[in-house]
């Protein structure tokens, strides 16, 4: 679109010598930043972008220690984390860069679970379920007696915080006898491997693996809704659709390449989200993001 002028302006800005933009944080958001980095680098060859995957919490830790320029987050920054940044003198700007729908996935051979209610999910994932809810037959009468094999986000990821809050009502409250992983892709393999398996992760990962997995519709009280770009943008895929963030350090944004990258990210959001298989921003979100970037200058 009309982004070229922006990027050209930005491209001339960075110093002639090669420079590095350090990004770390949520592994969910990482592909987004990586895609942005790839596209950005195509036009700014001398800028290096590295994207770590320490998880949202881990990312903020590094971010607030000044180790990174931009932090990827799959949830908004927490008060304690913000306080830590403030204590370290790191000012930042939050930018929503994409939408995601946490998709519940089951094994292809699972022909009984097509739609699950939030209550059923809670029954599965609540701390009380630990060691007691072990079979699908305990979830809903009529489900077969197939052992329940759960895969989910690692405890340091924003996804975990988000999911536990949405399903179990409190961040961090969850049964522990599931396969937690920082790497959502492990879940793909896990769920693919066992008939009674269930997991959750971002919509993009599901779309990548539609041939291996099956998505489950979620009933948040207003009927069964399938996860998709439309339902995510429209907010009807509740309560599991969420925005994804990047946090840009104001100190770092003083460096022209960081600022240019942030501008590029927002200006090319549609291309980036498409490349990374995420749900693009709605027009209102774009306006908000542009304003946030403008505030960095």
């Amino acid at each position: 679109g009309g982004t070229n002028t922006d990027t050209e302006g930005a491209a001339s800005a960075p110093a002639a010598s090669s420079s590095e933009i350090r990004i770390d944080g949520s592994s969910t958001v990482a592909p987004l930043s990586a895609a942005a980095g790839e596209l950005f680098k195509a036009e700014n060859a001398d800028v290096n972008v590295s994207v770590g995957t320490s998880g949202t919490g881990g990312g903020f830790k590094k971010f607030c220690a000044g180790e990174t320029d931009i932090s990827n987050a799959s949830r908004a920054i927490k008060d304690e984390e913000a306080a830590e940044c403030a204590a370290a003198g790191i000012e930042f700007t939050e930018i929503i860069v994409a939408n995601d729908a946490l998709t519940i996935v089951v094994n292809k051979e699972n022909d009984w679970a097509t739609c699950l209610t939030v209550e059923e999910l809670n029954k599965m994932w609540a701390p009380e379920a630990e060691g007691t809810i072990t079979s699908w037959s305990q979830i809903r009468a009529g489900f077969p007696d197939v052992p329940l094999d759960l895969y989910g986000a690692g405890t340091d990821s924003g996804t975990f915080d988000y999911f536990t809050k949405a399903i179990n009502g409190e961040e961090g409250a969850s049964r522990t006898d599931y396969n937690p992983t920082e790497d959502d892709n492990v879940t793909v393999q896990g769920v693919e491997g066992a008939q009674g398996a269930l997991g959750y992760f971002g919509l993009s990962y599901y779309e990548e693996n539609m041939d291996k997995l099956k998505a489950v519709e979620v009933d948040g009280g207003a009927g069964c809704v399938a996860p998709s770009i439309e339902t995510a943008q429209a907010g009807t895929y509740a309560p599991l659709s969420r925005p994804l963030f990047i946090y840009v350090s104001k100190t770092a944004a003083a460096r022209p390449e960081v600022l240019a990258f942030a501008e590029y990210f927002v200006a090319n959001d549609e291309a980036i989200t498409t490349k990374a298989l995420f749900v693009p921003l709605s027009p209102e979100q774009v306006t908000a993001a542009e304003a946030a970037v403008a505030g960095l200058k």
Binding site: T53, S54, G55, G57, G58, K61, K62, E84, P127, D149, G154, T155, D156, S157, E170, E171, G172, A173, S174, T176, D177, Y178, N179, P180, T181, E182, D183, V186, Q189, G190, E192, G193, A194, A197
Partner: protein, 311 residues
Amino acid sequence: MSDSSRSISTSDFSLRSSSPRIGERIIRGTLFSASAFSVLITIGIVWSLLVPAIEFFRQVPIMDFLTGTRWAPRFKPASYGVVPLLIGTLWTTGIALLVAVPFGLGSAMYLSEYASDKTRRRLKPVVELLAGIPTVVYGFFAIEFVTRVVLKDWMGLTVGTFSVLSAGLVMGVMIIPTVASLSEDALSAVPLAMRQGSFALGANKMQTTLRVVFPAAFSGIAAAVVLGISRAVGETMIVALAAGNKPNISSNPLEGAQTMTGFIANAALGDSRVGSLEYDTLFAVGLLLFTMTLIINFISIRLVRRYREAY
């Protein structure tokens, strides 16, 4: 005998050193520092594990840590019982030994007692190649081939993506060379005279191998196995990839489980906040792992020393 006054002496003859040889001393000093540096490394390891671990044990009683059966450091409510991780480690290590000990020992006996010199020189390096393969590649292989093809397709087992069986099997192959190579050394160290003694009594090769050479090399072989155990306990990438991340007290090797190393690797990817209790768990587990391998290794050194002293 002659009188000493008649001995030859020359006035300008001296046995003092012709130069002070300061360079020599500097070199010796440098070399010593290099080897003393290794002690610093150990101190460093202990220090880097102990400091955060002590912090951890201030909040979690050490007995709760060692005997607790629920490992959930990042959940609400959190609990810090390391037993599930120990059991995971026990599973993978045990399965690995079931593979490595018979096959490693069999290979060692063949190489040392049956193979010609030439054959041994060719085959031993090939076996040792197994030790040179990156453990990431092993892990990849465990998931892609052992679990999917061997366990699921060929054997028809109902096994998930992650299982201690698959990780253990592959890890067993990884430590075959450790067991084989060191056992072979121990077997070859048995003096030829002992074999000759046996043959001269009319024993055949199998009798000689099993009744004379094997018992004579026993402590060396035990050391090889013990070292294999310590490799298995400390191996990270195979279990991180193939055993899964679920702390699990299970009696079913087809299930996945998290090992101590697996936890450390996984937790490191997550990178909790420095100073938090969760962060310190990493070091508590690390310290436990270090202590375990230290003990195992001491046993192995003892055993090796015994067979070295025997001949």
